[in-house]
Point group: C2
Chain length 305, copies 2
């Protein structure tokens, strides 16, 4: 069993949720209406041996990633952080100084993005071989009352990504996946500049292929990506950029003009287009030299944890 | 290092939080002001081998406890649930059917308390010996705009508990700690009946001795508990009731009359009083036959996880 199947089982129960859940589980964040005001919430986690390697990664970087991974979900909704809650399970021999350093890094990172740490829990594993686990819940508010979901892509939209993709997780476990900047200001800038023309957005955590498929599935459309247009990290093949994960850049679809660069200097690249979903076709095709050479089903990439 | 010391390090940073954090980390839940409305949030976790034993406990009960443990924090604030987010780490061989059963139990339990599951994350451990971990964030709203904290106890208050204490965790790992009902309706009833006379409240997770000390410390008062008045579970010695944990009953202090029984039939027992903190005394004394026989410092009980 993989994560996605289990999540699908969970989302099947969304039908039973009340009207106050304005974005049900299954998007980057859920949204709930509280007395007319909306609040976004999401939970994510970082586990030693899966998302980080404690043995080779400084604690400050581990704590940073625990927070930025969840902040990236806020960016995906073009929302503004409200606060974060952190639950950590430590090996019994972790040590006071290291535990404090981990929390200090989490707090400092959260504060950097105006997302105060408002809650925490700490527990200890029974056995020293059990891995460090950090679970982080983030709360956010939609900007101007609107959160951008995965479900709004429309036929004839252009598909865009920010930054460069691929190679985020190096062989030794290090790489951009540890040091990326959640694209919160950039997402808010995009939402402001495009207004209702910004139709759908996701952060690239599972990888371009899979995350584009998420948008296509949630929106009931097909996405075609032009392999030659993918802004690959230097030295990274476009196939690796499609299949790799943890870029934490923004993938979005929009109608009309889109700035080629955002205020902080981040590039925005058009990589494809949205078309109506055909009966037999998959959610995603990658096109190279005019040929459909790979479909979503063939990407062979599965978010492992 | 123990949990409490590390939490103290974390709460030391509360001074840097903004004015919108109306109850900072360190109470059962934090509270944050969003455009004039207040939202409560807390995170807690349940780990195989620490809080539950998967080997001997039905999955439905494990899932139930993961949720009720966090709901009990909502009861402690006399608040109303808004929603829950769950992050689970499973051993790699956990199996689809069991994973679904776990989530179904969590969702059903949350729904039972009008606390819809609005977010979830699933990850798999790298090794089959690594333990199941469930982290649960709960969101809540104060009832009539007021949340009951640990910090409001006043000299001459009477100290009360609901239900019976002690023996919640049996030798085989089973017991009331798995099947308790979070006292949310009872807490809301108390807050309604007592109004501003309900001064301070906590849920008994760490044990009467330690949780009474939390109220005394947060309120800057001393609490005296009469050992003979503690409503012990049948067959449980008062010392075990003071030192034991995971009763998940309510401990509160109030002025004036308090009902001896709540609408659902739950007993409320006066067990002590609040007095001013003396210079040299500890936060808590247990009195038996008129003698101070044990102080908080001597309880020798430490929340292990």
């Amino acid at each position: 069993m993989r994560e996605f199947e289990l999540l699908r089982h969970i989302y099947d129960a969304n039908a039973g949720l009340g009207d106050d859940i304005t974005i049900p589980p299954g998007d980057d964040m859920a949204m709930i209406r509280l007395a007319g005001r909306e609040l976004l919430a999401a939970i994510d986690q970082v586990i030693d041996g899966r998302h980080v390697r404690l043995a080779t990664t400084p604690l400050a970087i581990v704590g940073r990633k625990a927070i930025t991974r969840s902040l990236s979900d806020i960016a995906a909704m073009a929302a503004r952080p409200v606060g974060a809650l952190v639950a950590v399970v430590l090996p019994p021999d972790f040590g006071a100084e290291r535990a404090e350093a981990l929390f200090d890094a989490m707090r400092a990172t959260a504060a950097e993005y105006d997302c105060p740490l408002i809650g925490g829990d700490i527990a200890f594993h029974a056995d020293a071989t059990h891995p460090l686990t950090c679970s982080v819940t983030v709360l956010a508010e939609p900007v101007n009352g609107r959160a951008i979901t995965r479900a709004g892509a429309e036929a004839d939209d252009v598909v865009y990504v920010t930054g460069a993709l691929g190679g985020a997780v190096l062989e030794d476990g290090l790489g951009k996946h540890l040091t990326f900047e959640p694209r919160i200001p950039e997402a808010i800038e995009l939402a402001g500049a495009l207004g209702p023309r910004l139709h759908a957005m996701i952060d690239l955590s599972d990888g371009l292929g899979r995350d584009a498929s998420h948008i296509a599935d949630c929106s009931g459309v097909r996405i075609e990506i032009d392999a030659a247009r993918i802004p690959c990290t230097a030295g990274v093949d476009w196939r690796a950029a499609v299949g790799g994960g943890e870029d934490y850049e923004l993938l979005f679809t929009a109608g009309g003009d889109v700035p080629a660069q955002l205020a902080g200097g981040l590039a925005v690249t058009a990589i494809g287009r949205v078309s109506p979903r055909r009966g037999e076709g998959g959610p995603l095709v990658i096109i190279r030299d005019g040929n459909e050479i790979i479909t979503g089903d063939e990407l062979g990439w599965q978010h492992e944890s």
